[in-house]
Symmetry: C2
């Protein structure tokens, strides 16, 4: 790519142009200046690295750009907050052309538009691999943020939607190219790949769960088993999970034979679902479930209960075993 930093910033500015409420100084200055809300600010950051989180050959620049925004919006959603502003720091290798970078920002812009946040600033750098670091600022009414640490023994453990489709999509993207057409001929093939490449953040759902009385909440980025262990650790409690109640994505069930995986196992340990994991008092469960179904058409599954300590899995026959906090580790040497 033969653009200078200034030329690239100018091109990016065009992709991102427009007026956004609250933005006083946008892209191109030392820093962005935005209006501050009346409640609390919520701050989140996530990094996507080529070769670790994605391969350029298996995701389009547009999907990658959108995903880099959505995974951060998901963190904001998990606090029951609303995303407002995003900043992007980018590392770009020499062999990436300007069109790819513009597509990347096009995807970011589309995701920002969809979730009503403004991309207000960034930093571009030469690098050996594509690196995308996004930081998002959100807003939540004072005292209304839902952290990971409020779960109490007796609370019901709930998850939105269904699990494992993104992990299925990841596996599908890694199979031999000669086998891929067979999978893509089936509706579940496209659905699994989409789940991994085009995740959805549950912003409205997070706020609805908070209003319904969620005591703790987080987004599922590293798999239910691992993320639930984190929520329990933050809250100083344990949990018992009823394995048959874990909602397995239908597309994953249909793909299980083709992928030669146990769909229930993958739903428990697969990463990147970006569904919400929450805890809630039993008396509030019906209301939460009804509100989510009515407002968003999203199911809420109760998959277990918070206990004093320990992580326990119970299978269909009522047999108990330790719930191993295995799953996606973005830090593991893969």
């Amino acid at each position: 790519m033969e653009l200078t930093e200034d030329q690239l910033i100018e091109a990016i500015r065009k992709v991102l142009s427009g007026e956004f409420p609250g933005v006083q100084v946008g892209i191109g200055d030392d820093a962005a200046v935005v209006g501050s809300g009346t409640g609390s600010m919520v701050l989140s950051t996530d990094m996507l690295i080529e070769g670790v989180h994605f391969e350029r050959s298996s995701i389009s620049a547009r999907d990658l750009g959108a995903k880099s925004i959505v995974v951060n919006v998901s963190d904001i959603a998990a606090m029951a907050a609303s995303p407002r502003y995003a900043m992007v720091s980018l590392g770009i290798p020499v062999d990436v052309d300007a069109a790819w970078v513009m597509e990347l920002f096009g995807g970011m812009r589309a995701a920002c538009d969809e979730y009503a946040l403004a991309l207000v600033g960034g930093d571009t750098n030469r690098a050996d691999a594509v690196v995308i670091a996004v930081a998002v600022v959100g807003e939540v009414g004072s005292g209304h943020a839902v952290s990971r640490s409020g779960a109490r023994p007796g609370d019901i453990v709930v998850v939105t939607g269904s699990l494992g489709a993104a992990a299925g999509g990841f596996l599908l993207s890694r199979i031999h190219p000669s086998k891929l057409p067979q999978a893509l001929a089936e509706p579940w093939g496209r659905e699994l790949l989409d789940a991994q490449a085009r995740p959805v953040a549950r912003v409205g759902e997070g706020q609805t769960l908070a209003q319904a009385g969620a005591t703790a909440m987080m987004d599922l980025s590293d798999g239910l088993a691992k993320d639930l262990s984190r929520l329990c650790s933050a809250s100083g409690v344990g949990a018992r999970v009823d394995l048959p109640r874990v909602p397995v994505a239908e597309a994953l069930r249909l793909a299980a034979g083709f992928l030669e995986v146990d769909p229930a196992e993958l739903a428990l340990t697969g990463g990147e679902d970006y569904e919400l994991l929450a805890t809630i008092d039993l008396t509030n469960l019906a209301r939460a479930r009804g509100d989510l179904r009515e407002r968003f058409g999203v199911t809420l599954s109760d998959v277990g209960v918070i206990i004093d300590e320990g992580l326990v899995a119970v299978d269909a026959e009522g047999r108990q075993s330790p719930l191993e906090p295995t799953g996606w580790d973005h830090f593991a040497t893969a």
Copy 2:
């Protein structure tokens, strides 16, 4: 390094522990929750990449951590704002040990303490090279941010402190190891290396310049020639620079023979000074200069004037030539 992501986050949390005003939910949750101020929010992000911005062999982990914070604080300072919160996204190669990462965060923590901001969140990832992306949120009274775009013809162009020491330090760090002891035997040797490894952000100075009536302001990260061209471009004006008035760092003058460089040229084009470049009406210059000297012991040099268009350099004999916007390009293929 044999730590898992969760173990690393726990270790980092210990380095960063403490109570910070305004922080309601800190490190370890999906996102940080902080109080929002009464003015405007200022948002900045910067990425440091191993092999592009630094080599692990030539800067300590502690200095690198501090620098990653300071370069962002400098962007906030250049808006006349106060830094409040920082977030860090990190990529860490396999060959980096945990002690190095702890030193890195120790340096970040020390810089955050020095500039009174709280490190509230982050994200750690496996990577092929060390990548540090920092985002900082600052605060400024409504309408008091100073952008790059307010310079008007007739305004005086001013810079804080002196220029070129960091570029001299960069050159010094690249000379043959056998020559280094000779340079380090001189006070200027250590001073130049320090300027590059331990930059200082001009937070109070930025606010003082704003109070004194600065019409436009930015920090000097890529060299006076290049950054002034950016300020002029943002303001839709030109500038004439009196070359003899550009304040060359004394240590660089002393090192010029050893480094075989033209110190005036390096002061004009060298990056990473993190001094402030501003424009101000002539009637406000004396007050700005007096306030900076009195409050911070910092000199303010008037180096030129804003004109309608074009970038012109005037030498000691009064000869004019085009001021080429050459300098440090973080995006250049180095």
